[in-house]
């Protein structure tokens, strides 16, 4: 008998302690994978260009990591409820355009628009639950709506970020670069909220076994609305952070974020169905993608024309490694 056959668990029976140990190891390995892939990318960068591993180098390389991490967290909330948000990228772009225009010129209206857009996300969650619609279809449609609205708000690239936002994003703490601190904070806060609180359990349970949750008397409508609102909230934060860094906006600025966010969640140990997500993993996944996206490839002297394709190749390799490890778990 092949060795993996003996290690594979038999669902119908008792598991010996060694089998359970193997399962726990596989789970640990999967939990560590986001950290490992990040370490791998960092080692590669250090090897190619040792000077990049410095306060200044990290500040530069991780420049765009914060908005990507926030967008990834937004996507993670949606995936936790067994849905998928294909509109998060254009939504981030829309928020960016509002931030660079209304939020600067008429802060009250700007805030109202942003809050309203979170409300739209909540309504989408309700609609998807009540009408039992596939979220992919609804959010694909919404992605064009957000894109259109972004173009209405800012027909050509421009605008300017509010000064307070610029100040926040330009913050330079001692010793540790700001993006790293921000990523840590985002990861820990969301981890606490989703993984440690008692309502976080309900939110994840709604992805794991919705029927069981309904039978226990919880409202699935409410969990879906909460998850989508959180996605909206983090999408807004992502858009604002992005404009804080780029200082001006463009209606297409966030388009790449949809796929980056999905890849970040999966890279971070999440799964498309079953409520298995990891906020810290998602943030690490986002950092990995942010580093692999351009600094690594530039150091490898890959011409910009080829970077997008190389980026895709890296994604495939890392995600394939993840799938192989999760398969061992079964």
């Amino acid at each position: 008998m092949r060795p993996e056959m003996t290690a594979a668990s038999v669902d119908t029976g008792l598991k010996t302690s060694s089998e359970r140990g193997a399962l726990a190891r596989a789970r640990l390995l999967r939990g560590l994978l986001p950290a490992l892939s990040l370490a791998l990318v960092l080692i590669a960068i250090a090897w190619l260009n040792p000077r990049a591993i410095s306060y200044f180098g990290f500040s530069l390389m991780l420049n765009l990591a914060i908005p990507i991490a926030l967008a990834t967290i937004a996507q993670m909330f949606v995936i936790a409820g067994n849905e998928l948000d294909l509109s998060i990228g254009t939504f981030v772009g829309f928020v960016g355009c509002v931030t660079a225009t209304w939020l600067k010129d008429a802060p009250l209206i700007g805030v109202a628009i942003l809050l309203g857009s979170i409300g739209v996300y909540a309504l989408l969650g309700a609609l998807i639950h009540l009408r039992n619609l596939p979220s992919i279809v609804v959010t694909l449609g919404m992605s064009f709506v957000w894109q259109g609205l972004a173009i209405l708000v800012l027909p050509k690239p421009g605008g300017k970020a509010p000064d307070w936002l610029l100040a926040i994003m330009a913050f330079k703490p001692p010793f540790v670069p700001f993006p790293i601190i921000a990523a840590l904070l985002i990861g820990l806060i969301v981890h606490f909220g989703l993984m440690r609180t008692s309502y976080g359990v309900i939110l994840r349970g709604s992805g794991g076994n919705p029927a069981a949750l309904g039978r226990a008397g919880w409202s699935l409508l409410k969990t879906k609305i909460v998850l989508f609102s959180l996605a909206g909230l983090f999408g807004v934060l992502s858009g604002m952070a992005l404009i804080g860094i780029t200082t001006s906006a463009d209606a297409n600025i966030g388009n790449g974020y949809t796929l980056l966010a999905i890849a970040g969640v999966i890279l971070g140990g999440g799964e498309f169905v079953g409520g298995r997500v990891s906020p810290i993993g998602a943030v690490l996944g986002a950092l990995t993608l942010a580093l692999a996206a351009s600094p690594l490839l530039t150091f490898m002297h890959i011409p910009p024309d080829w970077q997008v394709a190389a980026n895709g190749a890296i994604l495939i390799i890392v995600l394939a490694a993840r799938v192989l490890i999760s398969r061992r778990e079964r």
Partner: protein, 489 residues
């Protein structure tokens, strides 16, 4: 006040229709304090529907529900929870992505705020210790990593945990279907203690002996109605089976089975478990029904899966000489394609034969499905309905039809009768014997000792090894238990 005052729950004239199908036709049902009510009936007799009403997950189309003597107009799950009524559903209702403690939290709204994790973990650990001493489940285990038996233990224990709401009645729907004899015994002993403490239980089980031994009162349902309700002492096995309207009481199949098959019939499977150290091996010949016995999870399923794999790729220690089909035990996760129709679910193992050019011929698929619908008695108006429109027993029949309708000469059965009603079981037993007479070979892992009566040869497993090899006429329950618990290696 009328006598209803003392009842924990009383349903009168409960009716329920699903579309054109009448699931319940005016049922009166009650449970008093300190009694264990056994509920038996075929799959599709309305037991689950009735229990869903008691638990508040379904509301009756007409009829009244009274709890603790008061009429409940807006009865719901959360109301049932408040009134101390819980249900362990047949299909597991745990979240596989959460830990045991987190799953406990889902059933207790009051487990929140600072320190809820510790409280939840202590609550479920204490209850598991009480019901299943020596269970070796940790509150921090992720449910998805647990075996199906352990999941059932968690689910049962969770139903008995108490925080702020009272607890008067627990509905146990097939609670022992995935447990081995030892843990099932622990659970039933706990149920007796629970009932002795003045609380109540409803016990639904297809293992009639379990109901006869543990219930105080037995209610028999058939076709959406209660046909008999009487003290358990007034029943015996035969009366129960007759009341359920099932096929006539089981005749000892032994004589029939023993209709000595010549030793010379061709070899179909020769297999040695990976952990086997001595020379014992499993040998199956054409036309034989081979039983795999022993406690749950001692390597029986492993061996079946190894044989299944060996059929397509040669592997050491296993010889397979004919096509193989597997009837899965965990039909929800390993057997059924949930999005597909009944006919598609049956045809998937026979696609080569159903092909017409490059495409599957819908006509041949329908013919195959229709043939097996008649032969095995799948109760549905239309085989093109989704597979989930069937009751559990009928879903399992469809899986049998998938295997038996294929070209497989060897059929592996991984405890397929779990949670299936006695009528369906008897029909399938007959079919298996008939197919064996026609030359098919069956390897049958079962946790129910009675099913072994159908087998020619029984191999008892312990710790992944074959520890005993019994002929049908040597088989007794004692021998199996002896080998399963013995130290022999």
């Amino acid at each position: 006040m009328p006598e209803g005052n003392a009842d924990i729950i009383r349903l009168s004239g409960a009716e329920k229709h699903f579309g054109a199908v009448r699931a319940l036709g005016g049922v009166d049902f009650h449970v008093g304090p300190g009694e264990c009510v056994g509920l038996v009936g075929h799959n599709g007799a309305g037991k689950s529907t009735l229990m869903h009403m008691v638990a508040g997950t379904l509301t009756p189309d007409s009829g009244r529900i009274g709890v603790h003597g008061d009429i409940e107009d807006n009865y719901s799950v959360s109301r049932a929870q408040q009134l101390g009524i819980r249900c362990v559903f047949q299909e597991l209702s745990l979240c596989p992505n959460l830990s045991v403690a987190e799953n406990t939290r889902i059933n207790h709204a009051s487990l929140r705020g600072f320190g809820w994790r510790r409280k939840a973990a202590e609550l479920i650990a204490a209850k598991l210790d009480e019901i299943f001493p020596g269970h070796s489940i940790s509150a921090s285990d992720i449910v998805g990593d647990l075996s199906i038996g352990r999941r059932q233990m968690v689910e049962v224990a969770r139903a008995f945990t108490v925080t702020q709401d009272r607890l008067d009645l627990v509905i146990l729907d097939e609670p022992t279907s995935s447990l081995d004899a030892h843990t099932a015994g622990q659970l039933l002993a706990f149920v007796r203690r629970f009932v002795a403490g003045g609380k109540s239980c409803i016990l639904i089980s297809h293992v009639l002996g379990e109901v006869l031994r543990n219930a105080d009162r037995i209610v028999v349902m058939r076709d959406g109605k209660v046909v008999v309700a009487d003290a358990a002492s007034a029943f015996d096995r035969d009366r129960l089976v007759t009341a359920m309207g099932g096929a006539e009481a089981r005749q000892k199949a032994a004589a029939q089975v023993a209709a000595a098959k010549p030793e010379a019939s061709p070899l179909r499977v020769r297999a040695r478990p990976a952990a086997q150290k001595d020379g014992n091996e499993l040998v199956a010949r054409a036309g034989e029904i081979i039983g795999l016995a022993g406690l749950a999870g001692h390597g029986q399923t492993d061996l079946l899966l190894a044989i299944f794999a060996a059929a397509s790729r040669a592997r050491a220690g296993i010889e397979v000489t004919a096509p193989v089909a597997l009837v899965a035990g965990d039909r929800q996760s390993d057997g059924i394609f949930p999005q597909w129709s009944i006919a598609q679910n049956i045809g998937i193992r026979s696609l080569a034969r159903l092909r017409n050019g490059l495409l599957i011929s819908p006509q041949r698929e329908a013919e195959l499905a229709e043939f097996w619908q008649k032969k095995i008695g799948i109760r549905t108006p239309d085989m093109n309905n989704n597979i989930f429109s069937l009751s559990g027993g009928n879903q399992q029949k469809a899986l049998f039809a998938r295997a038996l309708g294929s070209d497989a000469q060897i059929v592996l059965m991984d405890d397929p009768m779990r949670g299936v009603d006695i009528g369906t079981k008897l029909e399938v037993y007959d079919l298996v014997r008939e197919e064996a007479r026609n030359g098919r070979t069956f390897l049958w892992y079962t946790t129910e000792t009675e099913e072994l009566d159908n087998c020619d040869h029984i191999y008892v497993f312990k710790n992944g090894r074959i520890v005993a090899n019994l002929r049908r006429d040597e088989l007794t329950e004692e021998k199996i238990i002896q080998s399963s618990f013995g130290d022999a290696a």
